[in-house]
């Protein structure tokens, strides 16, 4: 078992705290079926350049730190590039710190390993963390650049969608009663709501990401998307398979991880999305 990255420094009043969904992603991405898939998709030979891994909405950074710090174990190569994009600036800072900690831990372990000359030990190795960027989905990423996309979206069905930006500053010239500026508490509530509130069917944000997949992913690109039962996963998978630009093999969407028998109202699954080339 790979260690879960430490997130004790993350301010959970304004950044999503790692929960069952985060841990399902860790379990799925480190399962044999997925490490085998990633190794065959991005074989560590000169003809296969390092994959760019983008996590959208990393929050605390626990998943991105896991992927970066254990690159050798998960991808069978340690030259992967990783990037996080979150609408929440506090989440970006948290992610950068979480990744740095986890990478340092891996490097210390490797150094100790080498000192003790454990030739039989399992070699891990950290990848290259590019940074965390504040933004909306993959809008600021070059088209066709992403090889592995990971998204734990705001999937809870809600009546309304929270605003990405704070309300505009009140204009002093109007005769309207001045709009109150957002308090720190309101800001934190809005940022937390952005991490879980998914609007209709919990799918409003996820639907925008799915629509952008053909533009965002490289030809060899794949995506890991977390869904809950209320998102109507079978319909979502059908919609993904019908996306344009699938080539000869078409778009594939299969469930590769589930929260299994802990079937509460929030039953979770991870869908892997890719094209057969």
């Amino acid at each position: 078992m790979l260690p879960t990255p430490c997130t004790s420094h993350v301010p959970y009043t304004r950044v999503y705290e790692p929960a069952e969904d985060s841990f399902l992603l860790l379990d799925t991405l480190s399962s044999k079926s997925e490490t085998d898939f990633l190794a065959s998709r991005f074989p560590p030979v000169s003809s296969s350049p390092p994959p760019l891994t983008l996590e959208i909405g990393p929050g605390s950074g626990v998943v991105l730190a896991f992927l970066t710090a254990h690159a050798q174990t998960l991808f069978s190569r340690r030259d992967i590039l990783t990037l996080g994009i979150d609408v929440n600036g506090f989440a970006c800072s948290a992610t950068a710190a979480t990744v740095a900690k986890a990478v340092a831990t891996t490097e210390q372990q490797q150094a100790r390993h080498q000192q003790q000359n454990h030739a039989d030990g399992k070699d891990d190795g950290a990848g290259i963390f590019l940074g965390a960027v504040q933004g909306d989905l993959a809008g600021a990423v070059r088209p066709g650049a992403v090889d592995v996309l990971v998204f734990n979206p705001p999937y809870v069905p809600t009546a309304e969608m929270p605003a990405v930006l704070p309300p505009p500053a009140p204009a002093s010239t109007t005769t309207m009663p001045p709009q109150e500026e957002e308090t720190a508490f309101e800001r934190d509530s809005r940022l937390l709501a952005l991490s879980y509130a998914g609007g209709r069917d919990g799918m409003e944000t996820t639907a925008r990401l799915i629509e952008a997949l053909p533009e965002v992913l490289s030809d060899r690109g794949c995506a890991y998307l977390l869904l809950c039962a209320q998102n109507k996963p079978e319909q979502v998978k059908e919609r993904i398979r019908a996306l344009p630009g699938g080539g000869a093999g078409g778009w594939r969407a299969e469930t590769v991880g589930t929260s299994g028998k802990q079937a509460g109202w929030e039953k979770l699954q991870i869908v892997r999305i890719w094209r057969d080339s």
Binding site: S46, P49, P50, L52, D79, L81, L83, I85, V87, G89, C92, S93, A96, I128, F129, L130, G131, A132, V133, Q134, G135, D136, G139, A140, V141, R142, P143, A145, V164, L165
Partner: protein
């Protein structure tokens, strides 16, 4: 964020995507920081085919780094060229963009960079 990140980012304004002027974004008033990273020649050789060389040349020059050659080195050339390895290592692996702005060459929009985090959220009139 690492300078290498600029090789993968573009203007977030939809109508800019089709224009070649929206990539790479141009750093302005940039403050840089340097991490101490051990040189790994094989890693740099692996990265070569993943890099848009023209864009990297532009970024490198705009940030005041030594001018990169017009053509990217081959894997063999890079392995044998200690100075080039060192220059690329400094630029790609060690240098962090901490403060400043990233400017789109097409629409002129400026994205702020604070404490190493670039903000690509657009004001509502540009979404």
């Amino acid at each position: 964020m690492k300078v290498l990140t600029l090789n993968f980012l573009t203007c977030a304004v939809k109508t800019c995507k089709a224009s070649s002027d929206s990539f790479p974004l141009h750093p302005k008033d940039a403050e840089l920081a340097s991490d101490d990273v051990e040189l790994n020649p094989q890693l740099l050789v692996n990265l070569l085919p993943r890099i848009d060389w023209n864009a990297l040349r532009t970024t490198s020059t705009e940030l005041g780094f030594p001018q990169l050659p017009e053509q990217p080195p081959t894997a063999e050339e890079l392995q044998a060229d200690e100075k080039m390895l060192k220059d690329l290592h400094t630029l790609l692996m060690e240098t962090q963009l901490m403060e400043g702005k990233l400017v789109c060459g097409h629409c002129g929009h400026e994205y702020a960079v604070r404490e190493g985090i670039a903000n690509f959220l657009l004001p509502s009139h540009l979404v």
